[in-house]
């Protein structure tokens, strides 16, 4: 059974995958709406895209990729029955999540202090909506990782049974993946 566990597909609980697919569908529709609207307002989008802080977004991209790596290490740790290490890697991933929230929060502060809101123009409407919706997902993902981390610390998982860790990891990778599309689409592509 333990040997099979590693190759089980999909990793984690099947229900989280239904949830992940539904979430990706929502983001997919949002991205498509962004792309189609942009074709009608290319100049507007290009102009206001320059007001975004690409360096901050790059830091956040690195933060999320790193956190995903940490989550992978956490899963690897529990597969060799090392709950303590699993807990520590999850904490590291959470720290990266927190870094993302702080950087993104600073960006929002910058925009809001300039009086920018959802009604400023179509570009900002999409920028704020998409990034804020993703922001909420980072928070939700962190809550899930925290719950998993706490259970790992109290020895709730083992090499034989760690579906919860894989479930949390799968969701976190989804949050990361969405940002991997969002970052080039909204900040970089011209």
């Amino acid at each position: 059974m333990t040997g099979m566990e590693k190759n089980r597909w999909p990793p984690g609980d099947l229900v989280i995958w239904i949830f992940i697919m539904a979430e990706l569908l929502v983001f997919g529709v949002f991205f498509a709406a962004y792309a189609f609207t942009r074709t009608n307002h290319v100049e507007l989008f290009n102009t206001y895209q320059l007001t975004l802080d690409r360096n901050a977004a790059l830091i956040n991209t690195v933060a999320l990729i790193t956190s995903s790596y940490f989550v992978v290490r956490a899963v690897a740790a529990i597969r060799v029955d090392d709950s303590r290490r699993c807990f520590h890697w999850l904490l590291a991933a959470l720290a990266m999540g927190l870094l993302f929230l702080v950087v993104k929060g600073a960006e929002y502060h910058h925009h809001f202090s300039q009086g920018i809101n959802l009604n400023t123009n179509t570009f900002y409407m999409f920028y704020l909506s998409l990034t804020f919706f993703h922001f909420l997902h980072v928070i939700l993902g962190m809550i899930i990782l925290l719950a998993v981390a706490l259970k790992a610390r109290s020895g709730g998982y083992s090499a034989a049974e760690h579906t919860g860790v894989e479930t949390g990891a799968s969701y976190w990778h989804m949050v990361d993946l969405v940002w991997m599309v969002l970052f080039p689409l909204v900040y970089v592509m011209r």
């Binding site: 609980d13 229900v15 989280i16 239904i18 949830f19 539904a22 569908l25 929502v26 529709v29 949002f30 709406a33 959802l118 009604n119 409407m125 999409f126 909506s129």
Partner: protein, 467 residues
Amino acid sequence: MKYQSQKVAKLYFIAAIGLFVGQILFGLIIGAQYIWGDFLFPEIPFNVARMVHTNLLIVWLLFGFMGAAYYLVPEEAETDLVMPWLATLMFWIFLAAGAATILGYLLVPYSSLAELTQNDLLPTMGREFLEQPTITKLGIVVVALAFLANIGLTILKGRKTVINLVLLMGLAGLAVFFLFSFFNPVNIVWDKYYWWWVVHLWVEGVWELILGSILAFILIKTTGVDREVIEKWLYVIIAMTLITGIVGTGHHYYWIGTPEFWQWWGSIFSAMEPIPFFMMTVFAFNMVNKRRRNHPNKAAVLWALGTAVMAFLGAGVWGFLHTLAPVNYYTHGTQITAAHGHMAFYGAYVMINLAIISYAMPLLRGREAANSNKSQVLEMWGFWLMTISIIFITLFLTAAGILQVYLQRFSDSPMPFMVVQEKIELFYVLRELTGLVFLAGLIVYIASSFVGSNEPEATAEGEVVAS
């Protein structure tokens, strides 16, 4: 039935079905008025009959939800209700207030009712679905608070299951959002904005939590599938419901004077609202397929599966039809809306109430598990007559709606509203005839409670081995 205090649910269920009959009768009256405009005029004008039709619907569904809660909460919490007497008292208060309000609608002109009930002191009347006099609204709040206290304390005292907590969350949300019916801004934009917090956040938000938890309860009871599996589904379904449903409120904010971003937010999020309903369908069929035993109450299982399918069609598919802003630009407030409203309310909320009533009533009336075979066969006839009728009512109204949108709003030479109404009259006639079949189905359904009471209980054929 395991706990004595569950018995109070019986009163609520009987009242619910009684009011359901009233709702259908008034539905038939307004259906006839679509064909003969002066039918029963001036005794029962259209606006009054419509108000009675919609208000009775809401009130009987609330009776059903309360009955469902009083039935399933003690069983889930594994303890008696803390205050069964309060549940009985509130039943009579709610019924009396409801009856007085309906009589008020029917016997005095609406404006006189407003004067009579001192609407000036705290004006809350005159808004669709929230037409109740302020005093009735206050009564509803009192009943809701007493109900929540009773249910909440019982849950606190006993076992805290996911089903109970989701149900409590839904019921608490129901009470909280109703408070916005007291908020009546002068600015018509704000007025509509918050009006939807009651109307939308009820039916596309917290009521779905109630629906999900009642469905999960029935499935646990009738299939014997592990609680953990069912609870996991419930978590994901309610998460999806809240993500899509709350921001989905935006699909009501397209043309009422709110900022333009609502057209995007409303379109994108509400387009996803079918997802939790689809999950519910997959969930229900999955659980029944994985069942560990055949439950003798086949009628209850039929209602449970029926509500999963019909809620997806009515709320999910028919909602999606006109939820995108560019489509809604043409379909807003036409018979398309009526088509969606009928199938969604029936599929999601009427059927879940009938499902829990079907499951619980035999037990409340002293059966071991189910009614006799004869009674169940008749009940299933009621199921099919009502369900097929509502499908046809929806299709006829959809046809009427498509024609209406085209003739009145889309064609090169748009026609006036009343001219179009005459042109689509055929569909109103068909709808009314189908409505009569629905009434027949309801009569058959009620009759099923009275037949075969002396016959032995139905038994489950063949035990199923867990897969």
